[in-house]
């Protein structure tokens, strides 16, 4: 029998299924802007007024920091603010 018959190849193909797309997108988007998110959160921790403004309009705060406010980035920032 051939070592790589159809059954074996199928098994090996199935061994690498795609990761959930949302995970992939987050991994593509978050690491490059992580530093800027850290800065925003740190500033919010130190300045209650800024924190209020940030929470009131996350998109504007991100844009002001030079970060595209995609849904994944917004979620990541919300999570960080919630977990401060």
């Amino acid at each position: 029998m051939n070592a790589y018959d159809e059954e074996r190849l199928a098994e090996l193909l199935r061994a690498l299924p795609p990761a959930p797309q949302a995970w992939v997108t987050a991994a593509q988007e978050i690491p490059p802007i992580r530093g800027r998110l850290d800065e925003l959160v740190a500033r919010a921790e130190a300045d209650a007024r800024y924190r209020e403004q940030l929470i009131a309009d996350l998109e504007r705060a991100l844009e002001a920091a030079g970060v595209e406010p995609s849904p994944i980035v917004l979620d990541a920032l919300r999570e960080r603010l919630a977990g401060e």
Binding site: Y4, L13, R14, A26, P31
Partner: protein
């Protein structure tokens, strides 16, 4: 999803991709994540049997570390074993946090090595898949890794569903030839990921 055969130019090597990432090329970073996402996912879920929430945390942690530590990589061409090592460490840390001691013992007794060897082989097959025509890559990927039905594949690719089985068989034969050819051409690749 990107298929090699559908590309107008050849995909960059791992080393080229790493060099571009290090130079701040965001498109390269996206490509790197896309390229290794299945691999990291498979190690977390299949080898270390993490729950989906734990696997997601590990997945994000691994790529964050990769991004932050690319400058420490000594051999750009060895990025995949390096990513595998980072993933293993993150998975073990996660298991320890969850006090899944029995599972850690099982994995340390050799189960992880067997699973990782299987993933190495699967990676080789996937690379061979990338050398097939775009339609072959697509039909095999949709059927075997995305679990799509003949009907779904037929609708997506605008081909009669009744021809899918024969296409799969033909493409698998091409894949086997390509993969076995690769094995004969080169020494076993890069070694084990541990």
């Amino acid at each position: 999803m990107r298929f090699y055969g559908l590309m107008s130019s050849p995909l960059p090597t791992d080393a080229e991709l790493v060099a571009r990432c290090r130079a701040g090329d965001q498109d390269a970073w996206r490509e790197l994540v896309e390229r290794f996402s299945r691999y990291v996912y498979a190690i977390a879920v299949q080898v270390y049997r993490l729950s989906e929430p734990d696997a997601e945390d590990v997945f994000q942690e691994v790529f964050t570390r990769v991004y932050e530590r690319l400058g420490q990589l000594r051999d750009d061409g060895a990025v995949r074993p390096w990513i595998a090592q980072l993933t293993r460490r993150c998975c073990v840390d996660r298991l320890r946090q969850g006090v899944r001691v029995e599972l850690i013992e099982e994995l340390e007794a050799g189960e992880a090595d067997d699973s990782l060897d299987q993933l190495e082989e699967a990676w080789g097959v996937r690379e061979a898949l990338g050398e097939l025509s775009g339609p072959c890559q697509e039909v095999l990927d949709r059927f075997f890794t995305r679990d799509e039905s003949y009907r779904t594949i037929g609708a997506a690719l605008e081909i009669p569903a009744g021809t899918i089985a024969s296409r799969i068989s033909r493409c698998l034969a091409q894949l086997r030839d390509r993969y076995e050819g690769r094995i004969q051409e080169r020494a076993p690749s890069g070694g084990r990921i541990r």
